[in-house]
Symmetry: C2
Subunit: 196 residues, 2 copies
Amino acid sequence: MSKIANTNLEINKNIKARWSPRSFAEKTPSKDSLHRMLEAASWAASSYNEQPWRFILGIKGEGDSYDKVFESLNEFNQAWAKNAPVLIIIAAKDKFSHNDSENKHAMYDCGAAMANFSLQAVEEDIYIHQMAGFSPDKAKELLDIPEGYRAITVAAIGYEGNPDQLPDNYKKSELADRERKSLDEISFIGNWGNVY
Amino acid sequence: MSKIANTNLEINKNIKARWSPRSFAEKTPSKDSLHRMLEAASWAASSYNEQPWRFILGIKGEGDSYDKVFESLNEFNQAWAKNAPVLIIIAAKDKFSHNDSENKHAMYDCGAAMANFSLQAVEEDIYIHQMAGFSPDKAKELLDIPEGYRAITVAAIGYEGNPDQLPDNYKKSELADRERKSLDEISFIGNWGNVY
């Protein structure tokens, strides 16, 4: 795996600037900012335009909304995510609305929606860190997620903070270079393994 | 479902401009453009930074690469996708490299990568239309996709074309307004159903 791969290609700045911090500042994103991020998510492509994505926000200082989402996280993630002012559960609708058959691309489409969300966040100087480490069952129970939907990820959201606030074992990864595979490793032409 | 929902929120122009056309111009995107889109895809977030995405390109005029990807499409998609100068198979690595366990978020992460790809495409005046309607088995066989990877979507890629080139039944959807659910339908705070 190459370090800071492919840097010679000039791409959209926000796509390159997006990263997943674990340290966040105390400042809470405004409702307008969060609405713009959700709006960006809503414009993602989806199979049959199903728009299978649903979002449940937990915001510090807004009732018990934050604590309910936080409780669903595993301990490893709770240790750093407690600094994030906003947590969001991403849930997917399992079946297509037009014929009630299984939507095998619901997760794929939710991933696209959250990529849009992340890029709109960068426009607002906000960064998000998505997590698979949480209990979907606990989330379902605590947040009344109905049958037919399942929680698939949780995102911590906020402005960048000081890495010194993190425990040592998290601080190291916070300051590490971002690594990506080279294009030769991930893209081919006409046949697997034929470098484009 | 509201038509052209949420238009009062000002978000990143490329996120809003992205759409999935079925008519494409004859002009083929350059290798540099395609590399920038692949590069954009490569900077998506992924669980454990696995980067489970792989891409196999089929480009008209470059050997039999195009025909091989095209053959995996179902008839409904072949009818319009034949106008696209580039087709790409998106494949996902099934297991994590660090411990060989199932990567349950591989599709989610591939969806994010293709959202990045789509937004870099808009920067280049290029549009993509992703399809679930193809045979993953045929793609696996024709393109030598190895064990441990599975084809999950195909994307048609090119510059916008004239909708008149499409058969009538496709032309109608090509010219229809884009529809999105309102934010009240997809986002809640603290509990499912609590409008934010």
